[in-house]
């Protein structure tokens, strides 16, 4: 499937990411999705928007051979509806339900039309992302009953978990149907951390929006800030200086290193090896302290701004990072060997929470978890934008699909990120670290597309006739992976759920928005 196979009016969008955009007749959506699917492409994001005037549109982003194709479907103002594509791309199901909650656009004939992000705190006939909706106004809560799918049969019972969980994690509800210890079915209910992020963007300046983008999902602040900056730079036709791009990549790889270290420790701990948590959290803390010392923030929030970066690094900073990488290159392989030699740990990891490659392909498992189930997609390797185009990123993939595979992929990506950091430091170009942004183009669209540690983060930025932010849609890979987690736990025992869940480590806030 190539861009030329779409309608001829699809045109390349300005910006760093390889994106084509065009209008699509709603009647052509399903055949197009089927073609993309059969050619090995996948759904990346689906969102709705309301124009400054009466224009309602649904936007569907799919990954094809050359990059990303974004199709915009004009919808009727009276009873806006669009063709359901959740049978072609299962991940679309929840995205369609979110569009119905936030904008009132219905996926015609979809099997599941239950509310998703709306928990009865705004009326069913009012839509937060419509232009008539006052985002500062609150409504009295309606009763909140959610029809979970019931599992019947002898000896089946339900275990409700959350939204407040036993560990220090984000809130969400899990409904397990079990027989004895064995999980027959898991049904998730999310949306508890819905903060109206997309509505907030619409009242913000481009600069204010950058700060908000960095707070969509705290553990992926670099990925989101970069995606936002990339989108804003695309719409305004601005090009950040080369050094800024290299620094952004350094920040992104440091975010990956930090999260992978944290997860490897937590995974060992969830399998009963507290030693792993102590060791990996020590290494993670070292990275965080270096970030604080060199870039003024432990998690690098606000380090990336539209037009460039907010921090440069000097010779002393270079040597501190190199020292830190040298230390990690010594410690991580030692810990990896201890993991591999530990029979008890491997017993918990192997075959647990398995998503085989064919199921992963069918459901559209994305990002790190996808790569552990044979889905070889990594933007840094496939659609590399500067500076990744000169780095030859080695993608980590595995076909095991179990917790062990997700652990292995983390170890391999950690090693690769350390290699990349060394190259980024060695070859970093001299020069400016930011450039003023040109004025935003009116009625424009910018797309940011960045491979965060969890998977690909997409950010779509629509401007109004005045060039201001009209609609901003940040899209987390967790949208794709939460539904697959429901499949990963089938047939496992309840006590393995925390381990399986951790091995995916999906975002709630990035998904609930």
């Amino acid at each position: 499937m190539k861009i030329e196979d779409f309608q001829p009016e699809f045109a390349a969008l300005p910006g760093a990411a390889p994106v084509w955009h065009g209008a699509l007749d709603p009647g052509r959506l399903r055949p197009l999705c089927q073609d993309v699917r059969s050619a090995g492409g996948r759904l990346v994001a689906l969102w709705g928007s309301q124009g400054g005037g009466p224009s309602f549109a649904l936007h569907v982003a799919v990954a094809v051979q050359q990059g990303l194709a974004v199709a915009s479907l004009p919808l009727e103002r009276e009873a806006p509806a669009f063709p359901d594509i959740s049978d072609i791309f299962p991940a679309a199901g929840r995205m369609q339900r979110a569009v119905a909650d936030l904008l009132g656009f219905q996926a015609a004939h979809a099997a599941d039309r239950r509310p998703w992000l709306r928990h009865g705190h705004w009326p069913a006939d009012r839509f937060p992302l419509s232009k008539e909706f006052d985002g500062t106004r609150a409504f009295p809560p309606e009763g909140d009953t959610y029809p979970f799918v019931a599992v019947e049969g002898e000896g089946v019972h339900e275990i409700p978990v959350g939204p407040v969980h036993a560990g220090t994690i984000e809130p969400g509800h899990f409904r397990f149907s079990v027989v004895g210890e064995k999980v027959l079915r898991l049904e998730q209910r999310l949306g508890y951390t819905h903060k109206g992020i997309e509505k907030l963007f619409e009242a913000m300046t481009v600069e204010q929006g950058a700060r908000l983008a960095g707070r969509i999902s705290g553990d992926s602040t670099v990925a989101y800030a970069w995606a936002y900056a990339m989108a804003a730079e695309g719409v305004s036709g601005s090009t950040p200086p080369p050094r800024a791009l290299w620094l952004r990549a350094l920040f992104l790889e440091r975010e990956r290193i930090m999260n992978h270290l944290g997860d490897l420790g937590a995974l060992g701990n969830d399998a009963g090896l507290a030693f792993a948590l102590a060791q990996f959290s020590r290494l993670k803390e070292d990275v965080l302290r270096t970030n604080q010392a060199l870039f003024g923030h432990r998690y690098l929030m606000d380090a990336i701004v539209p037009g460039g970066v907010a921090h440069d690094v000097d010779f002393r900073g270079f040597s501190r990072i190199i020292e830190e990488i040298t230390e990690l290159e010594r410690e991580v392989p030692r810990l990896k060997r201890i993991f591999e030699d530990h029979a008890g740990l491997q017993d918990r990891f192997l075959t647990t929470g398995r998503v085989k490659p064919d199921l992963a392909a069918r459901l559209g498992l994305a990002g790190l978890a996808g790569r552990a189930s044979g889905q070889s997609w990594d933007l840094r390797a496939q659609f590399p934008c500067a500076p990744y185009d000169g780095l030859e990123v080695r993608m980590a993939t595995h076909r095991g699909g179990d917790v062990a595979a997700r652990v292995t992929v983390r170890f391999e990506e950690l090693t690769e990120s350390m290699r990349l950091c060394r190259i980024l430091l060695r070859k970093m170009p001299e020069g400016e670290t930011s450039t003023p942004l040109n004025p935003m183009q009116p009625a424009g669209l910018g797309i940011g597309w960045v491979e965060g540690w969890r998977g690909e983060v997409l950010l779509a930025l629509h401007t109004g006739e005045d060039g201001a932010l009209r609609r901003v849609h940040p899209h987390d890979p967790s949208w794709h992976n939460w539904p697959v987690l429901e499949h990963a736990v089938i047939g496992n025992i309840v006590p393995d759920f925390p381990l399986i869940n951790k091995s995916f480590n999906l975002s709630y806030s990035g998904h609930d928005l």
Binding site: V164, E170, G218, Q279
Partner: protein, 173 residues
């Protein structure tokens, strides 16, 4: 096993001295009697509640358990149920969807109890403020003893806040 022990020995002891409590973070007058606080003192059970956070504050709460901060070394530990907790550590602007869960968690925590609100969002709503989706700061929903600002607050600041909630400092009433 040999490799594991060798790794522990070569890492050495990383724990640092805990910070002093910061009474400036106290927002409510001391609600607990001094003698009760004395008993809480060094065996505090914390229940964390994410009421709508971006997950940044959670990362720093995790960091409290790393060998540098070693919160458990002070006898302070995290528990899985509010029924076992002395202190609620609440993050986020309170999302309206989390209001009921937060109130129920508060009710399920036995008296006497303490509440520490964490982060700029927990203190004043932060960048998310009050909206159709957010109720703003934690004190809009449940009583708060200590508020720790920051985006996210550093582990040291969080420890200072927890210790301030426990310390028998002068009442601000």
């Amino acid at each position: 096993m040999y490799k594991l022990i060798r790794q522990i020995l070569s890492s050495g002891i990383k724990s640092e001295a805990p910070p002093a409590p910061d009474p400036g973070m106290r927002v409510a007058p001391q609600r607990l009697q001094q003698d009760i606080l004395k008993h809480f003192g060094r065996a505090l059970a914390i229940r964390h509640v994410d009421a709508g956070s971006c997950n940044g504050c959670e990362l720093e709460i995790h960091a409290l358990s790393n060998p540098y901060y070693n919160l458990e070394g002070l006898g302070i530990h995290f528990v899985a149920s509010p029924r076992h907790a002395d202190l609620l550590l609440v993050t986020g602007p309170v999302a309206r969807h989390m209001e009921t869960a937060l109130k129920r968690t508060y009710q399920a925590t036995p008296d006497p109890k303490l509440v520490v609100a964490l982060g700029d969002c927990g203190c004043d709503g932060g960048i998310f403020g009050e909206s159709y989706a957010c109720l703003g700061p934690v004190h809009h929903v449940i009583p708060v003893d200590v508020a720790v600002p920051g985006c996210p607050p550093s582990p040291t600041a969080i420890m200072q806040g927890i210790l301030a909630a426990l310390s028998a400092g002068p009442s601000s009433a």
